[in-house]
């Protein structure tokens, strides 16, 4: 890295660390980490069937297909 790059990075790093510091002030041990930004629970759909794709449509974008199945490279290396 050149000196000018290091100078730019040092400034950015300072901004990042002060942002982390601000979060740490708020994130006390009794506050659980956020996994979902929206306070919603129990979003469900009824157990009723909906039309899907045909095998032809499903396989249309597959790099390779064989016997109406997705053809994939071998899974295990030879041992």
């Amino acid at each position: 890295m050149s000196d000018s790059e290091l100078d730019a990075m040092a400034g950015q790093l300072d901004v990042i660390l002060s942002a982390v510091g601000r979060v740490q002030q708020v994130a006390a041990a009794d506050i659980p980490p956020t996994s979902h930004a929206v306070p919603l629970t129990n979003v469900f759909r009824p157990d009723t069937a909906a039309a899907g794709l045909s095998a032809e449509e499903a396989l249309a974008a597959a790099p390779a297909a064989e016997q109406d199945r997705f053809r994939v490279p071998r899974i295990l290396d030879d041992e």
Binding site: S35, R45, D47, A49, A50, A51, E66, R69, R74
Partner: protein, 496 residues
């Protein structure tokens, strides 16, 4: 592998087994866990798929409400606590059976925890503790091409069908089960049998092991008798019948016992079960070290089953199989031992259906437990898969009761039906099987007595115990068509 197998009981005289069972159950919902695709078994490949279960860009999952309710019901039936709040987790791995490169599962927040299921083996009750019950999506099915007989090893490529990908799958995990001693294999089988019956009564799955809707992984370790430190365990994957559960435990006990006796160590690994030989072989030990980088699934909101919903579902639970069975035993005059034998042999329903088809309880039990279970073992199939219907068993039993068939002939008829020769009456007709008439019987009795004059003399002297060999000779002469009771009477009569 050059280890010699110590006999099961011999090993368990010296080592204490510790069992663990992980059971996967495909739920019987109409649609998949996160999309509206059908879950019907046996459709042509990749015809029950959509952008969501194929993981196409821009698609988003929405949880099937019925799958949550089914899972809560399973938890309640297994006496579990139901979480008040929990999340799905993303299990990341690179294996083409999931097109998204991850599987939606549950990690440290399962829906149900801390339950139990009681089983009875040999009159002894065992409580199997349930650690967790969680919900996840099933994976696609792979065909491995180019290697030997569909094995993944040596395959040149694989073909994947995603019809099964996304079907709701419940995983039920036990805590380590200790204290089973010599009954380890039977306890394992009894647990899976009981679990299957609970699930079937709940109506949450068709629990067809042969179609893979109920699959079992069997963990087993041994420790020296009296030790407290658990030994190294193996995990035998995809053990897919009740018989196989028992056989897999027996085999691992014998295999591990032989290793420990030889001063070798048991390797912690996953193993594959082979139906044909009843043995296990090592699978990929790499899997053990794999880091799935679980994290909360961002595309699905948390689950918070309302207490009213949980209590409402609890109120709909059917009575446990044990209560239903006790009532069945009472009505039909079966003892607790009869009941346990029928349950653990997997014939209770068959006996019930045979009774409903018109046979007596004693005869129905006798046919299944006393004969057909043994035939199934000889033919190496599950007893429920024998090619004989309950109506056919009831018909044979009826002919036996009316004296038209002897027990020996009746068994020959059953064998012929199982062999695919036709229906009961057709088989009897084509073989000309009928009970020997009085005249035929007298001829046979006289011939048998004449052939063994020493025995005939003993009988004449009042030694009734000597009758046996003559009855045997009469049976042989008539091809099993003699009524043994009548033959006995005639022998006593004609000898004097």
């Amino acid at each position: 592998m050059t280890t010699t197998l110590g006999a099961y009981d011999d090993v368990l005289d010296r080592y204490a087994p510790v069992l663990g069972l992980e059971t996967h159950v495909e739920l019987g919902t109409a649609t998949k866990l996160f999309c509206g695709c059908s879950t019907a078994f046996g459709a042509p490949p990749n015809t029950q798929v959509c952008p969501t279960c194929l993981g196409l860009p821009g698609s988003l999952p929405v949880t099937n409400e019925a799958a949550i309710e089914f899972t809560v019901k399973i938890g309640l039936a297994l006496h579990c606590e139901i979480a008040t709040w929990c999340r799905f987790a993303r299990k990341n791995y690179f294996y083409p059976d999931m097109p998204k490169d991850y599987q939606v599962s549950q990690y440290d927040e399962p829906l149900c925890t801390d339950g139990y299921l009681d089983v009875v083996v040999g009159g002894e009750a065992f409580r199997v503790e349930i650690e967790r019950v969680h919900l996840e999506e099933d994976t696609g099915k792979s065909l491995h091409v180019g290697g030997a007989t569909g094995r993944i090893h040596g395959a040149t490529h694989s073909l994947v069908d995603y019809n099964r990908a996304g079907i709701p799958l419940v995983e039920i995990v036990t805590r380590p089960v200790q204290g089973t001693g010599h009954k380890a294999a039977e306890v394992a089988r009894a647990y899976v049998t009981e679990l299957r019956d609970v699930l079937r009564d709940l109506g949450v799955s068709d629990v067809r092991m042969e179609q893979g809707s109920l699959r079992c992984d069997v963990n087993l370790s041994l420790m020296p008798a009296g030790a407290t430190q658990l030994g190294t365990r193996t995990e035998t994957k995809n053990v897919n019948s009740l018989r196989s559960v028992e056989r897999a435990v027996r085999h691992e006990v014998e295999r591990q016992g032989a290793r420990l006796d030889a001063g070798e160590r048991v390797v912690q690994e996953t193993r594959h079960f082979h139906e044909d030989s009843g043995t296990t072989s090592p699978g990929r030990s790499k899997e053990e070290a794999q880091d799935y980088r679980y994290f909360p699934e961002p595309d699905l909101v948390p689950l918070a089953p309302a207490r009213e919903l949980v209590e409402g579902l609890r109120a709909t639970l059917p009575e446990p199989p044990s209560v239903r069975r006790a009532a069945f035993a009472e009505v039909n005059g079966f003892t607790a031992i009869d009941l346990e034998q029928m349950v653990n042999a997997g014939v209770l329903d068959l006996v019930g259906e045979t009774i409903a088809a018109g046979a007596s309880p004693t005869k129905s039990k006798g046919w299944w437990l006393g004969y057909l279970v043994g035939r199934a073992n000889e033919l190496d199939v599950e007893v429920s898969e024998l090619a004989i219907t309950v109506a056919q068993v009831a018909r044979i039993s009826e002919l036996e009761d009316s004296g038209e068939l002897t027990n020996k002939l009746a068994r020959q008829v059953a064998d012929a039906v199982i062999a695919g020769e036709g229906d009961v009456d057709a088989v009897i007709e084509s073989h000309g099987w009928k009970v020997a008439g009085e005249d035929e019987l007298i001829v046979a009795v006289d011939a048998a007595l004449a052939a063994q004059p020493d025995i005939a003399a003993k009988i004449r002297d009042g030694n009734q115990g000597a009758v046996g060999p003559i009855v045997g000779a009469v049976m042989k002469a008539t091809g099993g068509a003699a009524d043994a009771t009548r033959a006995r009477e005639l022998i006593l009569e004609r000898a004097s």
